[in-house]
């Protein structure tokens, strides 16, 4: 086996040092009754070359966004990932380290996490960020756990325009947290602040998405104000790519800002691994879940970084911890930091504007009824194709175009609606081609 280094002679010497005759003897503490008495029924071992061939064969059965002109979004996005991200992530030191428990060995990754936390705080207008959560769904459940403990209330409110998968994860976690989940329906593609205000009474938190799942811009400051007036924590679920052009949640009164980081620096990768981000006002720093890196000094007064506020965490607080998270998504968050550093503030703004401009062009060019014609949208928008959405998808895919996501999967009354996503990777001629497909 190529990953093992021991020779036969090594093994004999080692067994002699231990004082046993065979490897089997090392397992003598395992009761006979629970020993596995046959060989694992797995396919035979493959050489490296055979592994590559086998996985190439599997990969070839997938239709990736290089083989099909794709307008799929709905939470995972085909944005450009710069080469420098690949370069940094292929550094073996970063790839193969673990959680930086020993700061003297790990100043590099600790500093990178500190820089990542800074970037997330800058994007969201918040005071503190953790080192990452699993993805854009689980950070919403984390936010509910924070809100439950901060407010002592047992109900959470989610806008129906929040990504359906995020809502589903919140609902899955809620019973264990002792929380009830209430949904506020949308009105013409966005959430009504008055309706939200009514639902927010006695709620621990209110979670809404900006831009929302339909791509529409929510009246986010009004939604945050409605939550604050009710004593519920306003939580904004935001797209990092939008935050060069859209206001930061911290600037309009949110307590927490969360989101899926994939759009900034991660490939689509069939949905993971990516990183969820979570940032908060300083009031909630000691309720934050997960790892946080802080600045300090070493014995000689030199600047140093270290995992901090660990009395929140499971390895010290055990059943009283703010979360059970241990392994997080550091490598993906690092990709996010590199990506955002590559973009810079101006690049992020240009990217947001380009997405918006192309999406606006697509809206006009497709010439199909908009599901929510009164709303301003960012990089996604919903259209009515006048026939079952899956028929439109099938027909377009036969021509090598994936026209978008069928909203009927999550919303009643939207049988003919498609959610179309346009990133900076799509061109005008790509959009023209989509228009021809959908007109056909």
């Amino acid at each position: 086996m190529s990953f093992l280094s021991l020779t036969e002679r090594d093994r004999e010497e080692m067994l002699a040092t231990i004082g046993v005759d065979s490897i089997e003897e090392l397992f003598r503490d395992i009761p006979e009754g629970v020993r596995f008495d046959r060989e694992l029924d797995l396919e035979p071992a493959l050489s490296e070359q055979e592994i590559v061939a086998h996985l190439e064969e599997l990969a070839a059965k997938n239709v990736d966004t290089g083989r099909e002109l794709s307008f799929l979004g709905a939470g995972i996005y085909d944005h450009y990932v710069p080469a420098v991200v690949d370069t940094v992530l292929s550094r073996g030191e970063l790839l193969t380290a673990y959680t930086p428990y020993q700061p003297e060995m790990s100043q590099g990754v600790l500093q990178a996490i500190f820089e990542y936390q800074t970037a997330v705080c800058e994007l969201t207008g918040m005071d503190v960020s953790n080192a990452s959560g699993y993805d854009g769904t689980t950070v919403a459940a984390d936010a509910c756990y924070v809100a439950k403990h901060v407010t002592g209330r047992s109900r959470v409110v989610v806008a129906e325009t929040l990504n359906p998968q995020v809502r589903q994860v919140v609902k899955t976690y809620a019973p264990g947290f002792g929380l009830e989940v209430v949904e506020v329906p949308h009105r013409g593609g966005v959430t009504d602040p008055d309706e939200l205000a009514a639902a927010a009474r006695d709620a621990a938190c209110v979670i809404f998405q900006q831009p929302n799942f339909f791509g529409c811009l929510e009246p986010a400051p009004d939604l945050a104000a409605a939550a604050n007036d009710a004593g519920a924590l306003p939580v904004a679920h935001v797209d990092p790519v939008s935050l060069g052009v859209l206001e930061a949640p911290g600037a309009y009164g949110c307590a927490l800002a969360i989101g899926e980081g994939q759009a900034a620096g991660n490939y689509q990768s069939y949905g993971g691994p990516h990183y969820g981000f979570m940032a908060a006002r300083s009031d909630y720093v000691r309720r934050m879940p997960g790892r946080i890196v802080g600045e300090t000094t070493d014995v000689e007064g030199r600047r140093a970084y270290v995992l901090t506020l660990q009395t929140r965490e499971q390895h010290i607080r055990r059943e009283k911890a703010t979360s059970n998270i241990t392994t997080n998504q550091t490598l993906l968050a690092l990709a996010g930091l590199v990506h955002l550093s590559w973009l810079g503030p101006q690049g992020l703004k240009e990217q947001g504007e380009t997405c918006m401009a192309l999406a606006a062009y697509a809206k006009e060019r497709l010439d199909l009824p908009l599901a929510f014609p009164d709303q301003t949208t960012f990089k996604e928008f919903a259209i009515r194709v006048g026939r079952p959405a899956e028929d439109a998808i099938r027909a377009a895919r036969e021509q090598g175009v994936h026209p978008g996501y069928a909203l009927k999967r999550d919303y009643a009354g939207m049988e003919d609606a498609l959610l179309v996503c346009v990133t900076e990777k799509r061109t005008r001629s790509d959009i023209d081609r989509l228009a021809e497909m959908l007109a056909a």
């Binding site: 694992l40 592994i51 996985l55 059965k61 990736d64 990178a112 070493d298 600047r303 973009l343």
Partner: protein, 500 residues
Amino acid sequence: MKLIYERSQEGRRASSLPPNDLPVPEIPEELRRDRPPRLPELAEPELVRHFTKISTRTFGIDTGFYPLGSCTMKHNPRVNERVVNLPGFRDLHPLQEEEGSQGALELMWRLQEILAEVAGLPAVSLQPAAGSQGELTGLMLMRAYFADRGEAETRRKIVIPDTAHGTNPASVTMGGYEVTPVKTDPRGNIDVEDLRTKVDEGTAGLMLTNPSTLGLFDESIEQITRIFHEAGALMYYDGANLNAVCGISRPGDMGFDIVHFNLHKTFSQPHGGGGPGGGPIAVRERLEPFLPVPAIVRDGEEAFRLDYDRPKTIGKVRGFCGPFGVFVRSYAYIRAYGPGLREMSEVAVLNANYMLARLKDAYELPFDRLCMHEFVLSARGLKREHGITALDVAKRLMDYDFHPPTIYFPLVVPEALMIEPTETEAKETLDEFVDAMLEIARDAAERPELLKEAPHNRPVGRVDEVKAAKRAVVRYLFEDHPDLSKEPASGRELEVQKGA
């Protein structure tokens, strides 16, 4: 080293984007951003140098030996990085239609089949993002299972041994259960007499790591299983230490009903400085209806699909199907071994026992038995006689270019040093580490200051953790950033337990 923000100059950038000549729609004023985020501003050469320097100040398995107990820091084969970056995987959208994602579905289905065989349990969900989330998912399954039987209100307790990872009790609370602790007996097994008094009709289940965090296989496992199953309770297997027993003893055969795998430990997903991980779970038939959706199923020989039609499902614990890239790497890893996974575990256990045999006279061994894939020593004697702590030993190991073991965990062993070599190390590496540990034990008596002042060859010396926690400077504050070197040291060092 400067922070990336301290290298920034206004107007610099690394990115070039396709020019946009289309009109940009107007954003309503109250939603528009006026003050840009202060992201780094560097050209690409400086950007690359910054992150290269970041990497050189980080220690990974590629750098050297990393025997961090309970974390299974094994070699990460590079072929796995090659295959995960195939465009058919890397650039696949998770909402692609099933006919456009057959390769991904097949890979996941195959991985499920493999994990079921390794666990000795029939049904698998790959969805959980990490071991901790696997635990929480397992507790959600228990809740749903007992609710289905009308016992949700009565079964409130989860039994956890005092050797458990902190994640276990944290998960129990998040899952809405209460922790019932159980003691460890003088051989390092669960104290069965104590256990008998704690399991009753109010018990929902047990969470157990086997081998335990002491690196010991619980010799009473059959009795333990009987106690729980007779009480109508469920058994949860924390797979953190599965690297010891692949193909040797299966959790399902031990009697466990729910198992999580740590794909980043046992099956070599690179740890990435803290993640990503993967925490699939395998369960017995009676728990299958409650598994997260979608399930990945095979229709006939060739067609794979996502099945959402599971009326009793707990729901979803993560987006889409889970961390797919992790599945690709772990699947490739397992295919390199095939049934030889048993040898992987055998060598992991051989390596650990070899180191233990060479070290047990110089350090205290709290439970004098053969170990499994890891072992726990105590620096209690060094502390008593020379004032040298586990922390000092750990820091001194850095001078030899080794990553220290896990320290101060498990909590039942004072001054614990938890060492897990994994199977991928050469004997010479094990010997060099052991020689260093033996020299450190001698130096503890002869030159204790050398240990107290360690490490000597790192970019920073020991750090002031108390100051970090008290000041809570958790982001760069630009022109308002404080100079912590001008503030007094806390004069105190935290010796918190560290490890998975």
